[in-house]
Symmetry: D2
């Protein structure tokens, strides 16, 4: 940590800072330049808010943290890639993974039709929401546990492991009985009680980026899960909020290769929520593969025009088959391959 | 709702749209212009996602909702101002209300000192957090129920009603035993299970704006509380996320008079979180009064340099006394007055 | 255009609106719904600000424009793709185009070395700035006309056509003597006198998206050039400004296929400015190809650590050769091909 | 400047950095901590891009600039406030200044009516645009020099000095013949040839903040004017671009007291462009006074519903009179006063 004193700081300010540092258990080294004094602070484990506390002391111009505030998720902590095994699907292994299914579970028939279609086209996981966070209280809120049972039945039939969203700590145990991967949605990225609760489980978690979360906030949220002992966390870029409303969100695709440098955790891309328009899902998915994402999660619905949620961004089964056919050569062109198909049960 | 057909739409597309509307229980009126056909759709209670569903149908250029998606919180639904009585403090009455206290409850002594100081300077409510949502799992997370007991004791001593944050549905009952107003923080603005739970209580709620929440999303979140039957909701503008990181957040002050037009609910401003710097709290608070906010909520700490949370944005008791002295003439200049002092117990 | 009257609008308000419309030369059709009156306005050529003018009249709830405000650049105006021929390089033809070269022209030797290297690796155009818009007046501002002469010499030697930035109307004629394509930078996207001036030339223009320009603003800026008669305009997505500062900008890649639907003009992607980091340029460039961009423009410098401008985002010639080798299979995987090499002079 | 080496940096990397620093004329001091080496770099006048150049060298984790990149505009350079005298109106003196007039000059009659009205209500300067930067080429583009003559005539009649926008370097001399203050609009904040040109004049300049300009970029743009020798620069906060489109822009009011700490230049607020709605102009203007701005610039039109530009955000003369009456007590409540009236000619 570097404390830059103001060019008007007095000797008393400088000594006051040194005394405060020693009092807090740290060691400082004074560098006297022509214009100002700069103090290097040695030690580890600074509380995240410590820099701004020091910045408030007399005579301080700025305080700069050198070490990153996240730990367990960082490449420095673990140089090798985390690989998460979900019933034989290796996420983060270099192979490209495709998760597909409806936005919301609406009926047994809808889920079965979709699950069989996406399995036939080569999807690796089945997605589907039973508990839905909706912007309006007057929208369809999901089928609840009945929806989880339907997903579970679809898994039995197709062999596809299931990923589904959990919205509150109390629901975690219920969802755990049915799902293979917990999904934490964008609105809950900083729902800390929920993060801690899934951190206590021993099952993979996919943490979506908050709508306006910086990379650092996203990785700090991840830290809540990792610190509870659950190391099987994957991240999901699903578009961020920007000034332009042409698309539903702004897909921050270039962050994917940056994240691969900062963290050892797998990164999934959600082109459906990012764009909000079904006809942009395929090009965005191809770009996600080209830029090095570990996989995608896409919405598929047998009849998007009648979907209770996110119809406009849902692919039909035929669109999905076309996407899978187009993905293969792109993935191959980057020297990787699609994850091998999971054996049907 | 207005459906504008594309200029290349066929007669079949137009009739298909009319059929779909009738099937969904609505009535449409066709307007044939020179360039395109526009269909006015009559009816009420469109599901929030209905426009985007229609937009996906063949030959449609755009669908525009005319009515606002929020209801109970809108001025159209209730033209007169909602006034919330908190132990005699009338919030939303036109009088200006000041809530003050520490960011986090750290100790009995810290809270008592602060509470007595802010009461002496004329504050109307005591704020303080016992459950703290912190960006890092390695930061101080709050004292929990013990903190609530301390706040309760401070109320007994000063007569100031208490406002404190609740972070998860399971905590609502515990917090309810101690607080006078529930605070929902910015990270939980779209934590729907939590919103529903406080909506079931019969105690005022202050809902902070999400970091990147549009006005419509903010009012839709409010709707979750109102729809459960709790009509005592006040809103809090606490700064939004923008591209500029000079300040902690960007205080969207001009939205305050706009909100007063859109909703009948009181609007509070939080200049502490908005700016992140104690020396900007006073000017921002004065501006909040001048622009027509119903009150402010500010952080006060007896020793900000030692605060466990948000020290850099906390006022000292002396700073707070100065703020109160400066507020009075500004409030008077807008033809209003500070809320009358609450009788000490 | 649709005028929705407020549900409290009086009959006088409605008739006043009809009178105003007629006075302004338009025809309105009244639709009387249960809750409110909606007026369809027929006619063409509404001034861009006309909707907000009407919105200000008594009893109006909202005014919605149905037609897009841009014309000449829209797909509706011209359904087929614009193909721009630059000395035999067909931009927008489906083939993928690569423009490469230094950020700034620094010396004759630097440009020759770079130009020969990128030509050898298969680049199609040579980029390089002689007039540089720098955030600071204390930074290197470019070599001016001498730099243009160097670029011109590099074209003679390599056969690569030149693209270079022009910053003010007065410079347009000078730059015209040397360049093959005018580049308008992000800071000048709404420099209207400059846009008009290049619009009067008969030479292709590449218009970069403004840092916080919406799609509509970008296309409206394009309209300034097209309306002067110059129809050879290509657009360049170079990253927008968002709340996250991890990267230099946020590459809005998903907008590329959306732009292809809205406009017939070619779209180029600039992965160098978008990311600001050389090691992200290759993955971002591959993604640009996968998502359907018409080409890329990248910065290459023989010694990035000594570059006078944008060193950190510049590729070395070896990095660039590697990028070209990696691009080819991705472009092929999307069913396209790299533009055929230009014959050296 | 502080260079933090990565924890994996080799001794060769460290010595390489020291050699590079010496080669570039700087001196470095090595601090060896437990986890990493940190190098303090002494010297002044680092080029703005120097930190990112160093960041690219082997073994470097991050480079932090301690000194601000702007100089002449900073409080460190000049601790006392700059006061700009415009025909007797002292801007930046502590007194509050009001500039008012139409968005665009539309006719002689419109300007005279408006000028007389705002003068009668106590305005200090007359605003009005003769050259208009419009988003669309199909909108009214201003009356040009004829408009300047009308403004000049209005000054003669009312005694109010004139502020008007200049859009390109070639126009500066023409505008100079008529105006008292040059206004640079938000779209031209980084039009460097234009900034340099007005920097060569000896007449005050008001520089509006770019739509997405950070504080640092804004002050760096100011530096272009100051560095040419023109020290009479005032800044204008006019709303920034955020994700919320409820209002035309997001008024960043809390930046005003922050700017007063960073720079000695006066700060004006434009509540008309910031909000885009006439009924928000008064509350936003009062807030600007309360937060410590040096003045405001507002749009007034005799018949806003017929204005050729920005009608919806224009006050009528009666609204303006009401604003002036309301401003006075707010300004007084902050211990300041409205600038004394200028003697009519």
């Amino acid at each position: 940590m570097i404390v830059a004193m103001s060019h008007t700081a007095s000797e008393e300010d400088i000594q006051g800072m040194m005394a405060r540092l020693r009092q807090d258990g740290y060691d400082g080294q004074i560098n006297r330049g022509v214009e100002r004094v700069v103090i290097g602070v040695f030690g580890t484990g600074f509380a995240p808010e410590y820099p701004e506390t020091l910045e408030n002391l007399p005579g301080v111009a700025s305080v700069t943290r050198i070490s990153k505030p996240y730990k367990l998720g960082s490449r420095e902590f673990q140089p090798h890639d985390t690989i998460i095994d979900v019933s034989g699907v290796q996420i983060g292994s270099g192979d490209f993974v495709v998760m597909a299914g409806p936005c919301a579970v609406e009926s047994r028939e809808q889920v079965m039709t979709t699950a069989e279609a996406v399995a036939a086209s080569g999807a690796h996981l089945l997605r589907g929401g039973a508990f839905k966070p909706r912007t309006s209280p007057y929208s369809f809120q999901g089928m609840g546990e009945e929806g989880l049972q339907i997903l579970s039945e679809a898994r039995a039939r197709t062999g596809l492991p299931v990923i589904t969203e959990v919205m509150e700590p109390e629901e975690v145990e219920t969802v755990d009985r049915y799902t293979d991967v917990f999904q934490i949605g964008t609105r809950n990225m900083q729902n800390y009680p929920l993060l801690r609760r899934v951190g206590q489980m021993r099952k993979p978690v996919m943490l979506k980026r908050g709508m306006s979360a910086t990379v650092e906030e996203w990785l700090m949220a991840t830290e809540y899960i990792l610190a509870e002992g659950n190391r099987e966390v994957m991240l999901c870029e699903r578009g961020i909020r920007s000034f332009d409303t042409t698309l539903r969100n702004t897909l921050d695709l270039a962050i994917v290769p940056m994240m691969k440098r900062l963290t050892h955790l797998p990164i999934i891309v959600d082109p459906s929520h990012a764009t909000g328009k079904w006809y942009l899902v395929k090009p965005a998915a191809l770009a996600a593969a080209a830029i090095g994402a570990d996989g995608i999660i896409v919405e598929v619905h047998p009849d998007p025009d009648r979907a209770l949620s996110d119809g406009p961004q849902s692919l039909t089964p035929a669109n999905f088959a076309d996407l899978m056919a187009s993905l293969e050569p792109i993935v191959a062109a980057t020297g990787r391959r699609l994850c091998s198909a999971v054996a049907a049960v």
